[in-house]
Amino acid sequence: MTIIKRALTFILTVLAITVIAGSSAFAQKAPEFSNDLMMDNKTYVYLIAEKLEYRSLNGIDPLMWEIQGFVGKDINKFWFKTHGEALTTESEAEMEFQGLYSRAIDPYFDIQGGIRYDLAYEGGANKSRGFAVIGLQGMAPYFFHVDGGMFISEDGDISASLEAEYDLLFTQRLIGQPIFETSIAIQEVPEWGVGSGFNNIGLGFRLRYEFVREFAPYIGFNWERKLGETADMARTGGHVSNLSLLGGVRMWF
């Protein structure tokens, strides 16, 4: 008797729970709190050929490139940068590669650190050297895009470079871009044509037309002057100052 009574109570209780749980939509359990619901921590991939151009220069007519990109999230990224020059008339080229860890330290600036590798070919011979890099990249007040780096070579030579650009809108698609570049070294490295002190300054202007944001052909000019010891070294072998007309394309995705 008591067994039946107990069994009945048990069955009724189970039934009651089932009915209450099942009948009401309000009894549904919601998911646990999660902060992983939006695309605010997504990894993006970006690659830009800022400069991909042909220069007319003293009959050596180099091809020049400056390409960079990242893989990463808003704060932490891996940056890849390369720039270089290859002569179209001779088998001669000089290039630089950087692989950097980049971290946002400010709404507009990233601090970057990593390695740089330089490579040069000249008439079948080639040479290379490696560096440790620390740099700063971002947008300074008044909309100047700035990319600066300090380098310590494997031989302990210290140098630095700075590039600043500005976008000047003639129209919504026709955009002028003045560029200023300079580099400085503490120790001289004659093998690479580097003197101590200011090495060079460069001024350029590129006028691009953005058919779409991602694709813009341009024309422009570039003026470069070697300075101080670097200029003295250059005098023996080539030009201290040169002015080139250029044409190329800027693209990204």
Binding site: M39, D40, P107, P141, Y142, L168, R213
Partner: protein, 606 residues
């Protein structure tokens, strides 16, 4: 919760339906909420003893001004069908997902058990591909609302529709005819590409930036000194004076009830009728439309589904997710253009209020693109309105009104009809996620917004909104929560208090049935429509017990406003910027309403 009584009589309902039918000129005995002109789209009313409505979400082709795109439609249309409910009903909405991805429907502005709110990951798990989810809730309010996907970027593809709830009692608004007007934005691009573009390049879609030509025009107009000063002050802050919308008419076509401007959506009327237009901004990226009907005065009678004291205006700004019901009374037998310009003037949605089908009226020119001011950057201007005090723009550590400060009586309540004095920003600059802060914060309740109100038109301002019936909870706020809207346009990071959603480790906690003041401060230079799910925000606009109830507040740059809240429904509720891309990039929070024991389940509908 509801101010209106629940006991709707069946007879009243039938009489109401019948009169509706007569007005629309339809003699059918079947459900008669015929909205002549809503593209003869289905109007869905609950069927059977369980009050069932069936909805199917699926991919579909969608034509915009002759060009074909791929949309997500509801029951085969964009926008989805008009859902028409009755206050007091218990409804069952069955949503079938025919997409390959998870989907959801959020019932925007509706008070319901939070598991029915339709936010995947917050209120439920979403509706998996191929499955059907049953939304069940009692309808406890009335007015104009809408519904939309809360999954990924589906909303950009057309996954939204209007929702109208008829009052249980007498409708205080008299009208002969009505139309829902769903404003939205459409792109033929993949919305994920749209987002990626903004992440990778600041101003990708902005083709109205300041050029050299504009600089010279400005120097001519304002003098060289002032023009240079103006450009330099924006330059110094690294802010663009033309940051109006992230995604613009460069990719968007603006739609009125799913139709592009060239397709001229028509709403018919007879001379002398009172026509009720129920405007809904269902955009994904167009933070606001400015709406006017040249030649007609509009009377605003409802905002966010809540009846307000009628206000006569020429124009109003409608933020994403807001709704405004207006009454127009065309006295002439001629067509009138319904004109809705995007805030940045990069395009417009348009239709025609016409006595006969196929008519059109002249379409106004787009006005010129406005530009941001020093005030938008949170700076105090001197009397001349041009200058800025450089002392005031930098860091300020004078924290009169600290962030998250619990102090109640610091004079924050605006005097009726008077703007509150500017408030200084606290010492917290919100880190990397915030490119700027509003050093000075203004209530701006009397300002119609950027680009409006300087051309002689009477434009609705938030101060005008006065609820028809007083709010019930007369308690003073017991607690205060302050949140800052923050962003970094350059990195396309959006956040509250400088923290993106993935950076927070828990919900914002509200106590069940407490009386709370939520203060919102816009530290960015753009408008943000901020939406709180599951409870009303009684906007403190100086109308006391008649402060309007809103589900979405459109914040102007450098604006500081507050709302009183009584969280009556427990659970977890989403709180976010309704610009879809801002939400996805981190301007999102979960609000948890728990009782004293920490419980979020069990609803009390007494």
């Amino acid at each position: 919760m509801s101010d209106n009584n629940y006991n709707m009589s069946r007879r009243k309902f039938l009489r109401y339906s019948a009169s509706m039918a007569a007005m629309a000129g339809i003699s059918s005995v079947l459900p008669t909420y015929a909205f002549a002109g809503f593209d003869n789209r289905e109007v869905l009313t609950p069927k059977g003893p369980d009050n069932v409505i069936d909805l199917t979400i699926g991919k579909m082709p969608h034509q915009v001004d002759g060009k074909q795109g791929n949309a997500i439609g509801i029951n085969g249309t964009v926008p989805g069908p008009l859902i028409r409910l009755q206050e007091g009903q218990d409804v069952l909405l069955r949503v079938k997902n025919e997409l390959e991805d998870t989907t959801s429907i959020h019932w925007h502005g509706i008070l319901l058990p939070f598991q029915m709110d339709g936010v995947p990951g917050v209120s439920f798990d979403g509706i998996p591909a191929g499955e059907t989810f049953e939304y069940r809730y009692p309808v406890r309010q009335n007015g104009t609302y809408w519904y939309h996907s809360h999954s990924g970027l589906q909303e950009q593809l057309g996954h939204y529709g209007p929702l109208v709830i008829d009052p249980a009692g007498e409708d205080p608004v008299e009208y002969d005819r009505e139309y829902p007007i769903v404003l939205s934005d459409w792109t033929f691009e993949n919305p994920y590409d749209v987002l990626a573009h903004s992440v990778k390049m600041e101003g990708y879609y902005n083709y109205q930036k300041r050029t050299l030509g504009e600089f010279f025009r400005d120097t001519k107009e304002n003098g060289l000194g002032d023009a240079v000063k103006d450009y330099l002050s924006f330059g110094k802050m690294r802010m663009s004076a033309t940051d109006l919308l992230d995604v613009t008419g460069a990719t968007y076509s603006y739609l009125m009830n799913g139709r592009g401007p060239d397709s001229n959506w028509n709403a018919l009327f007879r001379k002398g009728e009172r026509v009720r237009l129920r405007f809904i901004n269902a955009s994904a990226g167009t933070s606001a439309f400015d709406v006017r009907i040249p030649g007609l005065e509009m009377t605003v009678v409802q905002a966010d589904g809540q009846n307000v004291e009628p206000v006569s205006i020429d124009e109003f700004r409608i933020g994403i997710a807001e709704t405004y019901d207006v009454i127009v009374e065309p006295k002439e037998e001629k067509p009138y253009t319904i004109f809705a310009e995007s805030l940045d003037r990069s395009g417009y949605a348009r239709g025609t209020l016409a006595p006969r089908k196929g008519m059109s009226a002249p379409v106004p020119e787009l006005r010129s693109r406005p530009k941001r001011s020093m005030k938008d950057m949170g700076m105090k201007m001197d009397m001349a309105g041009m200058d800025m005090d450089s002392e005031e723009t930098g860091m300020n550590n004078m924290n009169h009104d600290g962030h998250d400060d619990m102090n109640m009586d610091n004079g924050k309540m605006p005097m009726p009809g008077m703007p509150a004095p500017p408030v200084r920003h606290g010492p917290d600059h919100h880190g990397i996620g915030a490119a700027a802060i509003a050093s000075y914060q203004f209530d701006r309740l009397d300002e119609p917004g950027i680009g409006l109100g300087k051309d002689g038109r009477k434009v609705l301002v938030y101060r005008d909104l006065k609820k028809l019936k007083p709010n019930i909870d007369k308690r003073k706020p017991q607690r205060e929560v302050e949140l800052h809207l923050t962003g970094n346009m350059e990195r396309y990071m959006w956040s509250f208090d400088g923290k993106q959603f993935h950076e927070v480790d828990g919900p914002i906690e509200f106590k069940h049935n407490e009386r709370l003041r939520l203060t919102l401060v816009n530290d960015t230079m753009m408008e943000h429509p901020i939406h709180l799910h599951g409870m009303w925000m009684e906007l403190e606009n100086g109308n006391g017990q008649y402060n309007p109830r809103k589900h979405t507040l459109l914040l102007q740059p450098a604006q500081r406003i507050s709302a009183l809240i009584t969280p009556r429904d427990k659970g977890r509720w989403a709180f976010h910027c309704h610009i879809l891309y801002h939400m996805e990039r981190g301007m999102f929070r979960v609000v948890q309403v728990a009782d004293e024991d920490g419980g979020i389940y069990g609803q009390d509908y007494s």
